[in-house]
Amino acid sequence: MSQSVLLQALVYLAAAVLFVPLAKRFGLGSVLGYLLAGMVIGPAVLGLVGEEGQDVMRVAEFGVVIMLFLVGLELEPALLWKLRTPILGLGGLQVVVTALALAGLAMVAGIEWKPALALGLILAMSSTAIVLQTYKEQNQLGTPAGQGTFSVLLFQDIAVIPILAILPLLAMQPATPGEASAANHNLLASAPGWLRALALVAAVASVVVLGKYGMRPIFRLVARSGLREVFIATALLLVGGVALLMELVGLSPALGAFVAGVVLATSEYKHEIESDIDPFKGLLLGLFFMSVGAAIDFGLIRENPLLVAGAVVAIMLVKTAVLLVLGQRFTGNRAQNATLALGLSQIGEFAFVLLFFTTQNGILDQRITSIATAVVAISMALTPLVFLLNERVIQPRLGPSAAPEREADAIEEKKPVIIAGFGRYGNIVGRFLRANDIGTTVLDFDADRVETLRQLGLRVYYGDASRYDLLHAAGASQAKVIIIALDSSERALELVELVRRHFPHLRILVRAHDRPDAYEFIEAGLTDVYRETVDSSLGVDALRLLGVRAYHAQRAARTFLRHDELAMRELAAVRKDRKTYFSTARQRIQELEQLLHFDAANENLREVDEGWDNESLRQEAPPASSAFTAPQAPVV
């Protein structure tokens, strides 16, 4: 028995190792690689796996749960708010209109309205994994098409949750209300309706409360132990526990995981959790896609080749057409609009999840699901070709896509600076940059310090900066500058090595304790070495690297020091009283930030920014015809 389990695992792993890199090599993406691997080892080709497919699917389903947890974790409320119009407008309309259009198409094909609507909703999804990756590779996220695409995909990711809730209502056999998978566990199946409703609310509320207040002390405790595997276990325990709780009350485990993710999105352990469970998500999702691939019924496709081909073409045309109409106002440019619409014309990986869910709940019959699964896979496989078609044939005809780069791009708003180590030095630099409105991601490995800084309202994340995956999660590939202010120079040097190997575009600024430290850094080939006791210009240099004028940066630094000095004296008086201490400190930080905030609308700019400002003079200046009489003749 155990031997056969091991053998099965080996079959899956070997197939993944063989096919995924191959698929990537041919530009097909990892999702298709997994699907292909599944098809090959499945009953259709080699028949290495088969009867235990359902059990594997159960395990693999947990990958989907983790995926939604991570989607929730990624959802920064601030980013959502910034993109609310395109997300709700463009994204919302895309899902609704496409779903309805495709449902109509399905009804024409002779499917009843309930399953047709379910199919429409499922097929409206596009592939986040493939499309975002392509845009990123082509560096197009900043264009109107890129922004539109991002908004639509984000809305779809979120829409999965309500769709999972709606789908059971579309079931053809209302006899099985509790989901098939949950039916065995559902404690409340026989309870009266009001009790079940109450239990649902209580379960979701408890997830929110647990995430908000319960998990942080636990994570802190575990983090303090310094044992990484225990931290990973805690994160998995959290996701698994929430999933189980949701199943018990008859809700979708994915929904619960999503909520837990959103709740933890602002916590200091976000990046650490993300990087720790991401490999599990990857592997389990891979397993999931492989079992989907293995479950494809090739007999059905062979019997209906025209049906499958026709469905692929029709669906992709409908999806393109809908976005061509909706995207017009958003992109304001025909070429960009075509890129947006064609890029999202495939059906995405979420469709597999939803299709799997619908079979379980008896919403769609096996025949439709099988054909739909094949259609989804084929449409994804065509995506690279569609991109190529757009680039080579369609774009040249539509003229220059002279996409006016939008300023202050919300997506690219990954923070430009990473600070590793938030001790005395990193702390000052970090607060200085923050006061100048420079986005910083701060990583620190001291759980207690992170806790204290969080109380001060500073966004600091717990984690070991010298790990590749954590740096990646902290946005190192989009950042411009990394400031290393770790306590030990050995760890700092390790980090330097890591950054050079994996993120060579990052400019490294490093703090040295003393001369011997500085020698080591210089020996390692670093040029931007700052001695803590002598040199305080690191923050100023970081600002200059990000394009701020030198003189402005210099004045900002002096203003900062002056206020920091004042704050120190003020805090010295109240430091015994913890509560007053924190609230005073927080207030001072806010004041300073407003003061230094680089924003013309801000009234508190005075000190740094009002120098040589001629706005008031401009307003006073008479219209062009008469002589201007101001005594001062300044600026411009």
């Binding site: 030198a550 003189y551 401009r618 219209p623 201007f628």
Partner: protein, 195 residues
């Protein structure tokens, strides 16, 4: 071809409309060196040797700055105080700059009519620039008429573009040894200021 050194001083270039475009129009010319003083010395700690070497390597020195309080931003004064040393730039043995040319390139908030004896500023630009002219004289340099963009508070984008092209053309005249043509081109403007 003669080489031109632009000594540029603007303490808040991030807010500038006109000067940013003027500099952009000329910095790519291969006979022009732009020395951005506030960017180079944000702490006013001027590297005297570097500055003197720059002066020696060029035939024309353009002091390019907004016309603050009928004069230059503080940086230009600091530069003069430190770099134009006695015995180097002026005095019995101070001949380093002898024979070179100097001029101001300025932007003013006030309109041209204001800079007349009957206007609100009561003096002409030429009169107000007297300290610079005399500084050049003392350093045995020839002082050329200034390049001026007036009314910068109300200037339109098209006018800025035109001014940038004019600036570029005038510098090209200087570099190709047509200083006289430059002076005569500027003459009508100066006459109007004097009248």
């Amino acid at each position: 071809m003669a080489r031109i050194l632009i000594q540029f001083a603007h303490p808040a270039l991030e807010k500038s409309r006109v000067n940013r475009r003027l500099i952009a129009a000329v910095e790519s010319l291969d006979f022009v060196t732009v020395n951005d003083l506030y960017e180079q010395y944000p702490d006013f700690d001027i590297d005297v040797q570097r500055e003197q070497e720059l002066l020696l390597a060029h035939e024309y020195v353009v002091l390019h700055h907004p016309f603050y309080w009928y004069s230059s931003p503080a940086m230009i004064k600091q530069w003069e105080d430190l770099v134009l040393e006695h015995g180097w730039a002026y005095g019995r043995t101070g001949n380093a700059l002898a024979g070179k040319h100097m001029l101001n390139a300025i932007t003013t908030g006030g309109r041209q009519e204001a800079y007349q004896e009957t206007g609100s500023n009561r003096y002409t630009i030429q009169q107000l620039l007297a300290p610079f002219e005399q500084t050049a004289r003392l350093c045995k340099m020839q002082y050329l008429p200034p390049f001026v963009v007036h009314g910068s508070l109300r200037i339109t984008d098209e006018e800025i573009d035109a001014a940038a092209i004019r600036y570029r053309d005038l510098l090209t005249l200087l570099a190709t040894g047509q200083a006289t043509e430059y002076a005569s081109l500027q003459a009508p403007f100066l006459r109007s200021c004097l009248s």
